[in-house]
């Protein structure tokens, strides 16, 4: 047995666990599509450098043990320590209000477990759910077939939510490898503003596979920022698909900070549907041992006068492996597009690798598109300069790497998040430097 058989065999019992059935037909056809598509293999161009066999050859429990022993104190250690932030905590696939802090008002916030059971929210599913997620992707179909956990958040017109909401997906007390299909749906209506931080944490030594799908809708003049803080354990796999659709004059940012997890695959799709749209994608990856982090991005410039910026930095230690594939599509009518893409990498050990591939398909003639990727080592002269001033080799290295990664953090406006990332960077680089005091 392996994952594929698990998926086949568990579906009917999964459907029986649900108290509602209005998605059942969609789930069944999604499962059928999934089986037609199958898991991507290395023969698949999009998975040429990322082998999923390690994930798919394992067996997983699809019905996580509900019982957990996570305390409020453990949550306090995970969140960014800001009293005015909100956090939503899912444990073992269920929303736990007693561990969460939800104080935002004037918004519609629902957990899927709940919304799926309540016919009055059916319109959400009809109007938004699965409308921009790419149906041709096996993982998206698999997610629909099995999704039960996640949240739906609608920020109504002109509502500005200043405090970020941190969403946690925790898994604990599982004796077996566990499979989660999580789903997020964010709607930022006209003139609204919202910021989400998302993180996944596996507390067990058994493996967790998370197949996450996120859909973000940003309407006219709205601003939606989504920060993925990926610092999970060595026994965690994450396959993430995030789709963002933007209307005119809107701004959407997706930042991906990848430090942990055994295999992490991020897929990011931006779809433009109006003029004067700004899209930002930033990433910092620092991994070691035998970790793999793969970033696939795609920006679909379908309308004129829009801008997209991608800035991904990677630092790879030991035998870790990085993949970056950034696609920019500029439609014939998307004149005056400004698309910028940059991927810079530092390999710290001989065993570390990065496969980086920018891909631009431009059909308009009056556009500004730039891309670049670099792979290098640390500059020895810079290292000597710092050491000659009394800074130890390890710290000098860390300082230079921090300087290297720093500009991918520039458009984070949440100070505690910056601080957290600085701390994780120091931790990952094994130094006791308080970067925030130096930079």
């Amino acid at each position: 047995m392996a994952l594929l058989e698990n998926i086949q065999n568990n579906h009917s019992s999964f459907l029986e666990t649900l108290k509602h059935s209005f998605l059942d037909e969609n789930r069944k056809s999604a499962l059928k599509n999934f089986f037609q598509q199958g898991f991507p293999t290395k023969k698949d161009e999009e998975y040429k450098y990322t082998n999923l066999r390690e994930i798919t050859e394992k067996n997983y429990n699809f019905f996580p043990n509900e019982h957990h022993t996570i305390s409020k104190q453990q949550i306090d250690e995970l969140h960014l320590g800001e009293e005015n932030f909100d956090w939503i905590v899912f444990v073992n696939g269920h929303l736990h209000k007693e561990l969460s802090k939800i104080s935002i008002e004037n918004v519609e916030l629902l957990s899927f477990n709940y919304a799926l059971n309540s016919p009055e929210h059916k319109d959400v599913f009809e109007k938004y759910f699965n409308s921009i997620a790419n149906q041709e992707l096996a993982f998206v179909n698999l997610n629909l077939a099995y999704v039960k956990t996640g949240f739906f958040l609608k920020v109504p017109k002109n509502v500005v939510i200043e405090k970020p909401i941190h969403v946690f997906y925790l898994s604990q007390n599982q004796d077996e490898n566990t499979f989660y299909n999580t789903r997020n749906l964010l709607i930022a209506e006209e003139g609204s503003k919202i910021e989400i931080i998302e993180s996944h944490h596996n507390f067990d030594d058994t493996f967790v596979l998370t197949n996450s799908v996120t859909e973000i809708f940003t309407y006219q003049n709205a601003k939606a920022d989504w920060h993925k803080l990926q610092n999970d354990s060595d026994t965690s796999y994450l396959i993430d698909h995030t789709f963002a659709k933007q209307e005119r004059d809107s701004l959407t940012t997706v930042n991906t900070f990848s430090f942990g997890g055994k295999i992490v695959r991020n897929n990011l799709d931006f779809i433009h549907n109006g003029q004067n749209i700004n899209s930002f994608m930033n990433g910092i990856t620092i991994i070691g041992n035998e970790q793999l982090v793969d970033h696939h991005t795609a920006v679909h410039h379908n309308t004129p006068n829009c801008e997209s910026y991608q800035n991904y930095k990677g630092i790879f230690k030991d035998k870790s492996k990085g993949v970056f594939n950034g696609k920019v599509f500029v439609d014939k009518i998307a004149q005056k597009t400004n698309a910028y893409q940059q991927n810079n990498n530092v390999l710290l050990n001989e065993g570390a690798t990065i496969d980086t591939k920018p891909q631009l398909e431009i059909f308009a003639d009056d556009v500004k598109c730039s891309h670049g990727c670099t792979v290098g080592q640390l500059n020895d002269d810079a290292l000597f300069y710092l050491r000659a001033r009394g800074i130890s080799k390890k710290e000098a290295q860390a300082l230079l790497l921090y300087a290297f990664a720093n500009d991918a953090m520039e458009n984070i406006d949440i100070e505690p998040l910056k601080l957290k990332i600085s701390k994780l960077l120091a931790e990952k680089l094994e130094v006791d430097l308080a970067f925030e005091d130096i930079f």
Binding site: D381, R387, A388
Partner: protein
């Protein structure tokens, strides 16, 4: 303070650059090393500071009674050796102030001292930056990024004043400076100088020595010190060039 005996060093591909250097610097002295291009002047300063691109194949470098040949660059810095770089490296994102704070506190930590209190640090920064005519906004700029040649050198001398080393090696600090900047840098070095420390100037031209008076002038050619004299030797070199010594 510093005694170099029969120092031989080569670059990684095995080419010997230093071919038996002997040099003795006592506290309170200013030494100048001059010489033609490719003589090994910058190599000598890099080898004293511990640059790992060079391999010491023979000889010793005794600093305050200890052989430092095996020491890492940072250990040498902690012992009180400072080198002003000919080409300081740009480090985006790290401000001059934060960099010098980190450097000073690392050195203090290595010497078993607590971090310098913020107020004391700020006072020192103010005092030394004023000495060199460095403006406040300069200190919050990214280290060496987009600095002019003169700003980079001034910044190096600023760091020297802050770190207050026992031995300051100034590698071509005069290159790229106009006459006003040269005077300011020289004033900075002169204010640093006292009976307890020493300065080693590496220079191509005599003009820096108009402002910083050396006690000894050495001529380095083809990896060896071929002549040592007092400051009048520099004037003689200015007039005659190096050829009369080489032949």
């Amino acid at each position: 303070m510093l005694t170099i005996n029969n120092l031989h060093a080569e670059i990684e591909n095995g080419v010997e650059i230093l071919k038996g250097i002997n040099l003795r610097i006592n506290p309170g002295e200013v030494h100048a090393i001059m010489g033609p291009n490719g003589a090994g002047k910058s190599t000598l300063s890099s080898v004293i500071a511990g640059k790992e691109d060079y391999v010491v194949t023979d000889g010793e470098i005794i600093f305050e009674g200890e052989d430092i040949v095996e020491d890492a660059p940072e250990e040498r810095a902690h012992k009180g050796i400072f080198m002003s770089f000919q080409y300081p490296v740009e480090i985006p994102g790290v401000s001059v102030t934060n960099f010098i704070k980190a450097a000073m506190n690392e050195t203090r930590k290595a010497n078993g001292q607590e971090d310098m209190p913020a107020k004391e640090m700020l006072g020192l920064i103010r005092e030394n930056s004023e000495k060199l005519g460095i403006k406040k906004d300069f200190l919050s700029r990214s280290l060496n990024e987009g600095f002019s040649g003169g700003e980079k050198k001034r910044n190096e001398i600023f760091q020297m004043l802050m770190l207050n080393p026992k031995l300051a090696i100034l590698d071509e600090t005069d290159s790229g400076l106009d006459i006003d900047a040269l005077r300011i840098v020289a004033d900075g070095v002169n204010s640093f100088k006292n009976e307890g420390n020493a300065v080693l100037l590496i220079t191509h031209y005599q003009r820096l020595l108009d402002y910083i008076q050396p006690d000894f002038v050495h001529v380095l050619a083809d990896g060896k010190i071929i002549k040592t004299g007092d400051k009048t030797l520099a004037l003689e070199l200015e007039e005659k060039g190096y050829d009369w010594l080489l032949n």
